[in-house]
């Protein structure tokens, strides 16, 4: 049973980049929705892999190659366990974008017909829009975005109407918005979509790192997420699905590792999940992600969720101290994940991020790769804070104090 509470000050000691000695400049890292910091356990696992077990996977006869393969495949089991997926249904990709491209090309290109609808949402990250636009261009399918309500939630009536009246074949939905923080009801959407004969892809890049996520409970057909936002390294992401779903698909990328046999007149494919892992995989990165999954299970995803709910609740209250500040997305913290985007009158997000950096506070400013959402919100950009296991209320307070100073600086100098 996972610990019920999490002490960010204790966990912070696990993260070398966050350890500050006397005299070090402060580092208040509030940009984990962009990428998380890495605990020593992840760095060690990757380092040990290269020092102790480096060899190419799956082919070697010698013991070292067997050791490399074992560490790579053990990492897959760790990741699969975290999300309740089967080992065969847990495919390593480069990142969430590549995992979505995999589905768009391997499934979409072969199954979408002219006039079919790929129903996405206005709050998708570009990674869950652009691959579908490319495949729609090639197939004649249409991409439609479900609108967002003024409260920053999905307009489920519109989504239901689309499913009822249009030939929707695929529904793509972000589980937790990287801008609004909104937790979308993927389960309910999946039921509606399945009733209408459509498949569902959930982008879980902002949920798997932060809360318990179970592939079966969630009910989607495809679950994608990236490693570097969940304490793991860059260069590794995951597509998870039921093995039957993946079995029915042709490969995405062709090359080494993914074949059963290659003849002059054609080839046959390797078993799952390797059918979708062409070429030498990012072995050390997978090992690092496995260590991250193990670390997160050790902390306990329920504890992470409880910690972040308290953190977001505090952030929503503390940000109210700043006159004119508008928080985008749901006002109810229980409907939100970690990201909190906000706007300040007369202070552009770029200037916000630059000015609070002076106090060692890292927040993101920009469109967050969600330009359709920016247009829906009627803003060009927002500033965003996003906490994680190593942040506490003091970090939020440091941001708020810095924001107050930034306002003063820009207005009366």
């Amino acid at each position: 049973m996972a610990a019920a509470v999490l002490d960010a000050r204790v966990l912070r000691e696990d993260f070398p980049i966050l350890r500050r000695g006397a005299g070090d400049p402060p580092l208040v890292y509030l940009d984990s929705a962009a990428t998380s910091q890495k605990p020593q356990a992840v760095l060690d696992a990757m380092d040990r892999y290269y020092r102790e077990a480096n060899a190419n996977v799956h082919r070697g006869v010698y013991a070292l190659a067997a050791e490399a393969t074992d560490r790579y495949e053990s990492a897959r089991v760790e990741v699969a366990r975290l999300i309740g997926a089967a080992r065969e249904g847990t495919v390593f990709a480069k990142n969430a974008s590549e995992a979505i491209n995999l589905v768009a090309y391997a499934w979409g290109l072969r199954n979408l017909r002219a006039g079919d609808v790929v129903l996405l949402t206005e709050m998708e990250h570009h990674s869950n829009i652009v691959p579908w636009q490319i495949v729609a261009d090639l197939t004649g399918a249409r991409v439609v975005l479900t609108p967002v309500t003024p409260e920053g939630e999905l307009d489920l009536e519109s989504l239901e109407r689309m499913l009822r009246t249009e030939p929707v074949r695929m529904v793509g939905v972000v589980h937790v918005s990287n801008v609004l923080g909104t937790i979308n009801p993927v389960g309910a959407i999946a039921r509606l979509a399945h009733d209408a004969g459509a498949l569902v892809l959930a982008d879980a890049s902002q949920s798997v790192p932060h809360m318990p996520v179970d592939l079966t409970d969630l009910g989607c057909d495809f679950l994608v997420f990236t490693g570097h936002k969940m304490l793991g390294p860059t260069g590794i992401g995951v597509l998870a699905a039921r093995p039957e779903t993946l079995d029915a698909m042709e490969p995405f990328l062709g090359g080494g590792e993914m074949i059963s046999d290659v003849r002059a007149d054609g080839s046959t494919w390797a078993d799952l999940p390797w059918k979708f892992e062409a070429g030498t995989p990012p072995i050390a990165e997978a090992v690092g992600l496995g260590a991250a999954a193990r670390y997160l299970r050790g902390v306990g995803l329920e504890a992470v969720r409880a910690h972040e709910l308290a953190l977001v609740t505090h952030a929503l209250e503390a940000l109210r101290e700043i006159p004119g500040l508008v928080v985008h997305g749901p006002s109810d913290p229980t409907r939100r994940g970690a990201p909190v985007s906000f706007s300040l009158p007369d202070l552009h997000p770029h200037d916000i991020a630059q000015l609070v950096d002076r106090d060692g506070v890292c927040v993101r400013a920009g469109h967050h790769c969600a330009k359709p959402l920016m247009r829906a919100l009627g803003v060009g950009a927002t500033a965003r804070l996003s906490g994680y296991v190593y942040n506490d209320a003091e970090d939020v307070d440091a941001l708020v104090a810095s924001l107050l100073r930034a306002r003063e600086f820009m207005a009366v100098r």
């Binding site: 552009h348 770029h350 200037d351 000015l355 002076r358 920009g366 060009g380 950009a381 600086f409 100098r413």
Partner: protein, 152 residues
């Protein structure tokens, strides 16, 4: 305010709070839209080109203090100048932003205050947004105008 003083000089903040040349022109010769894909900043730039000179410049859009003040300073620096001179100035400013040339205050005017932006790579595109829009506007005008001497 420590190291940010060179970035947020009073002159920059003044142009940000009271932007010059902001708005639309009555009869623009050319208009272009540019955006900074990194941050979503947008600029709409209109030029009235007469007798080979930039007679008038108008800019609208949204952006941070750096991109907005830069557009304002650009308007001050190029209005009334021959188009070729303005183009040379755009190139000079670009080199300054990449720390490849020392700023020529006589030609840049207030825009010399943006020199410090060069030390903040993430903000260089903000400062260059309007200048690149101007370059595009001139090139667009040249390619569409019938008079080959229009820019001479």
């Amino acid at each position: 305010m420590g190291g940010l003083d060179d970035l947020y000089q009073e002159l920059i903040l003044d142009h940000y709070r009271r932007p010059r040349h902001r708005g639309h022109l009555d009869a623009p010769s050319v208009a272009v839209d540019h955006n900074n894909p990194m941050c979503g900043d947008q600029i709409h730039m209109e030029l009235r080109i007469e007798d080979g000179r930039i007679a008038e410049l108008g800019h609208t859009g949204e952006g941070c203090s750096i991109s907005q003040s830069s557009a304002s300073m650009l308007g001050e620096a190029v209005t009334g100048r021959p188009v070729d001179e303005a183009m040379a100035l755009v190139e000079h400013f670009r080199q300054v932003m990449h720390s490849a040339e020392a700023p020529d205050e006589d030609r840049l005017g207030d825009a010399v205050a943006l020199e410090g932006v060069a030390r903040y790579p993430a903000r260089v595109k903000c400062a260059l947004l309007s200048w690149m829009a101007l370059k595009d506007a001139v090139q667009t005008h040249r390619s569409t105008t019938e008079d080959p001497h229009g820019h001479r």
